[in-house]
């Protein structure tokens, strides 16, 4: 009797468990288009850039029958980096991924990708057609680690029609801080406070650009190009001047603070398009969205620089494409084919028109699509001109350092503190101390030493 009952109990229990297991695992499995090799592609593009990326993926899938690129949106750049590291080697890992500029050193040291140089060499791919400045950002020891993809420059946007209506002279194309302050104050004064003059997002990338434009290196070891950085400098004259400039505008009440993060960017663009904000500095990648969103004439200048100094030029921002080394050969090959596809002159020209990211294939400039764009919207040329005007040096070629996310969090905290009335030097010093401590810890934890 007891035996029978217990057996029955076990049986019930096991079948219940089995049911749960089947439900749990069974429901998630779906068959994919047979015959094609699936190339899972993780990206972090939003808005029009995402739409254009989808178009590219569809066109690529239609252009051949061997591979199927499956794009998956993975949230913010920051999230994606950790996801890439976490999933490396698991079945959830992508074959191709887009990763932000500042993660380059980290991913390089993590050894999660096959350098695209390998495919360039095997294919005898003509890499010289791709912008050399952008390529240099993602190279180490003369080897191409990843393929530069969405590339932008920080610029200053202004509402040209609004300035005209208010009778304010537009800022020069390469403005100083005081040029911008003058315009910002005038906007707020002449609109009776209805329009705010200026905003600078609480964004570490912009903080870095103030240093680059002021020809100041943030990390030692030549911004990490000659070794593992051990200290950073946040309290330089360049950053102090930039923060003092923002403070001046805040005190003049012509400045509006939207905070940090994608929410802040959405809000500042919404305000700009609604005619409630006159100027803001932001990535050139927003250009098409801004052109499409308002009937007002858009104005663009170079990134502002400190009075009495020459602009050193800003570095690029954006992300590059990496091929995961944990995937089988044919999958990696498929990823490479897709990279080649998105780097063609046509695809790059369409990309710039749709997104505002710069076309990296130099032949793109001769494509009809871009010529038409420049004829219709001459301002669309400004970001590429800014890039061309700068000579590359360690200060404006990006920072090859791990922990840049930490750096951005810290500098953003400092910026927010300053925006809300905190002491400039002490806020920057606090961030600097934390960052140096972080670097010491990180170098120890990863057992990095400079020789």
């Amino acid at each position: 009797m007891a035996v029978k009952l217990e057996t029955r109990l076990w049986w019930c229990w096991l079948s219940g468990l089995l049911l749960i297991v089947t439900l749990t695992f069974g429901l998630g499995t779906t068959a994919y288009g047979a015959g094609r090799t699936k190339i899972v592609f993780w990206h972090e593009m939003t808005g029009p850039a995402q739409a254009q990326l989808m178009t590219d993926a569809k066109a690529f899938n239609a252009s051949q029958s061997k591979y199927e690129v499956v794009p998956e949106f993975e949230g913010s750049y920051n999230e994606a980096v950790q996801k890439i590291l976490h999933t490396h080697g698991t079945s959830a890992a992508p074959a191709l991924f887009q990763s932000m500029d500042v993660s380059t050193a980290q991913l390089y040291h993590a050894n999660v990708a096959t350098p695209v140089q390998k495919f360039i060499d095997a294919d005898h791919y003509d890499v010289s057609q791709i912008s050399s400045v952008a390529r240099a950002f993602y190279s180490q020891n003369g080897k191409q680690i990843s393929m530069p993809f969405n590339t932008s420059q920080p610029v200053l946007y202004y509402n040209a029609s609004l300035l005209k209506r208010l009778g304010i002279k537009a800022p020069p194309v390469n403005p100083t801080y005081s040029d911008i302050t003058r315009v910002a104050k005038a906007i707020t004064a002449k609109s009776n406070g209805k329009v705010k003059g200026l905003t600078v997002e609480v964004y570490g990338w912009l903080f870095e650009q103030f240093m680059a434009n002021g020809n100041t290196v943030m990390a030692n070891q030549n911004n990490g190009r000659s070794g593992y950085p051990t200290t950073v400098d946040f309290t330089s004259t360049a950053t102090q001047k930039a923060m003092a400039w923002i403070r001046e505008n805040i005190q003049a009440k012509d400045f509006i603070d939207f905070g940090a993060g994608s929410q802040a960017e959405s809000n500042e663009i919404a305000a700009f398009l609604a005619g409630k904000l006159g100027m803001f500095v932001q990535s050139s990648a927003y250009i098409s969205q801004l052109l499409a969103g308002t009937k007002d004439q858009l104005g663009i200048t170079y990134y502002p620089h400190a009075d009495g100094t020459k602009a050193n030029g800003v570095s690029i921002g954006g992300a590059s494409l990496w091929i995961a080394n944990s995937q089988p050969k044919n999958v990696q090959q498929g990823a490479w084919q897709f990279i080649k596809y998105v780097m063609t002159p046509q695809a790059q020209a369409a990309w710039q028109k749709a997104t505002g990211y710069l076309a990296l294939n130099q032949k793109s400039q001769h494509q009809a699509i871009l010529k038409q764009l420049y004829a219709k919207q001459p301002v669309a040329k400004v970001p590429s001109e800014q890039l061309a005007a700068a000579t590359a040096n360690p200060a404006n070629s990006g920072i090859f350092m791990e922990g840049l996310l930490q750096e951005r969090t810290l500098t953003q905290t400092a910026m927010a503190t300053i925006y809300n009335g905190g002491n400039i030097t002490s806020a920057l010093k606090t961030a600097e101390t934390s960052m140096n401590q972080y670097l010491a810890n990180n170098n120890r934890a990863n057992q990095y030493t400079n020789h």
């Binding site: 976490h86 939207f258 990863n446």
Partner: protein, 312 residues
């Protein structure tokens, strides 16, 4: 199955009495294993083991994959305690938790008392009051993000219309936490109302009748009769609200991402940020240990302070 479960019983001397007793006892142990085993195993894998692992990790440094590399002793704890921004997070968390708990209970109680009235259509209001229970964190965040939006939000438009100073709710460190608090309390209201309403209904009418006869004022009745009678429920709701508030994550992620100036960088969000955005797993583990201790202490203190005074 039976064989393996009662295998040990065979080594006992087989007297008739022993067989029946032994059988029953062993099969009882088998049942216990069967009934309790699955839950115990799951909790061990997903709660106990991770807790120990987290504690262990907090004494080491980790590399970018989260692998343990160098022993760091109490170094992680030391740097945590020296980090002014961590103290700020801690302070923000404590004030958030306290304000959320108080507001939730007070407002929930007001709603519950209001819904006690014997009026036509009261059922409709009860449904309204409990409706936020069905609203999940992302939906709440979307509704309130819109309300708090500095250019098109309702609050901005209201203050503009009334010529009040404009508050940039989510970007101003003085108000961002308040914005999160308002949203949290709003989300909590439905659940709290439902529970407190039920508790109020269970207070016997005869107690009020007796108080009426004795000429006790309504307000005094509330303090002397109602509150003591519903104190077990109040205790339950407070505990749940407190612990939930400590674990707040979604609203912060969606509305402020811990900013501005870390004003809303509450403890759980910080753990997430350090581990899953910055890749500092050891530091995040250290923060997890502190968070766990904090929740445990608050719960225990609550049980000690109020557990005894509760009227049953």
């Amino acid at each position: 199955m039976q064989q393996s479960l009662s295998g040990k019983a065979k080594t006992r001397p087989l007297t008739p009495a022993n067989v029946t007793v032994g059988r029953r006892r062993w099969s009882e142990r088998g049942y216990a294993l069967l009934f309790l085993g699955p839950s115990l195993a799951l909790l061990a894998v997903f709660i106990f083991w991770p807790m120990l692992k987290t504690l262990y990790m907090s004494f080491f440094l980790t590399d970018k994959f989260g692998h343990i590399t160098v022993f760091n002793g109490l170094g992680n704890y030391r740097s945590l305690l020296q980090d002014a921004s961590y103290w700020a997070s801690l302070g923000a968390t404590l004030s958030y938790v306290a304000v959320v708990a108080v507001l939730t209970i007070v407002l929930g109680l007001i709603l519950a008392v209001a819904a006690q009235q014997q009026l036509k259509g009261i059922g409709f209001f009860k449904t309204l009051f409990s409706s936020t229970m069905g609203i999940s964190v992302s939906v709440a965040a979307i509704f309130w993000l819109f309300a708090f939006n500095p250019s098109v939000g309702v609050f901005a438009q209201l203050s503009q219309a009334l010529h009040l100073p404009e508050i940039n709710w989510l970007a101003d460190p003085h108000f961002a936490l308040l914005a999160i608090i308002i949203t949290t309390v709003w989300m909590n209201l439905g659940f709290t109302f439902l529970i407190l309403f039920g508790a109020l209904q269970q207070v016997p009418r005869s107690l009020y009748d007796a108080a009426d006869v004795a000429g006790v004022a309504k307000r005094t009745q509330f303090l002397k009769v109602t509150l003591p009678m519903i104190s077990p429920t109040l205790f339950f709701v407070t505990t749940v609200t407190l612990i939930d508030a400590f674990k707040s994550f979604g609203l912060i992620d969606l509305m402020t991402a811990g900013g501005p100036s870390n004003a809303t960088n509450l403890l759980v969000y910080r753990v997430y940020q350090d581990a899953f955005l910055n890749g500092s797993y050891a530091q995040a583990s250290t923060e997890s240990v502190v968070l766990t201790l904090l929740i445990a202490v608050v719960t225990l203190v609550q049980f000690k302070l109020f557990g005894k005074r509760v009227t049953y």
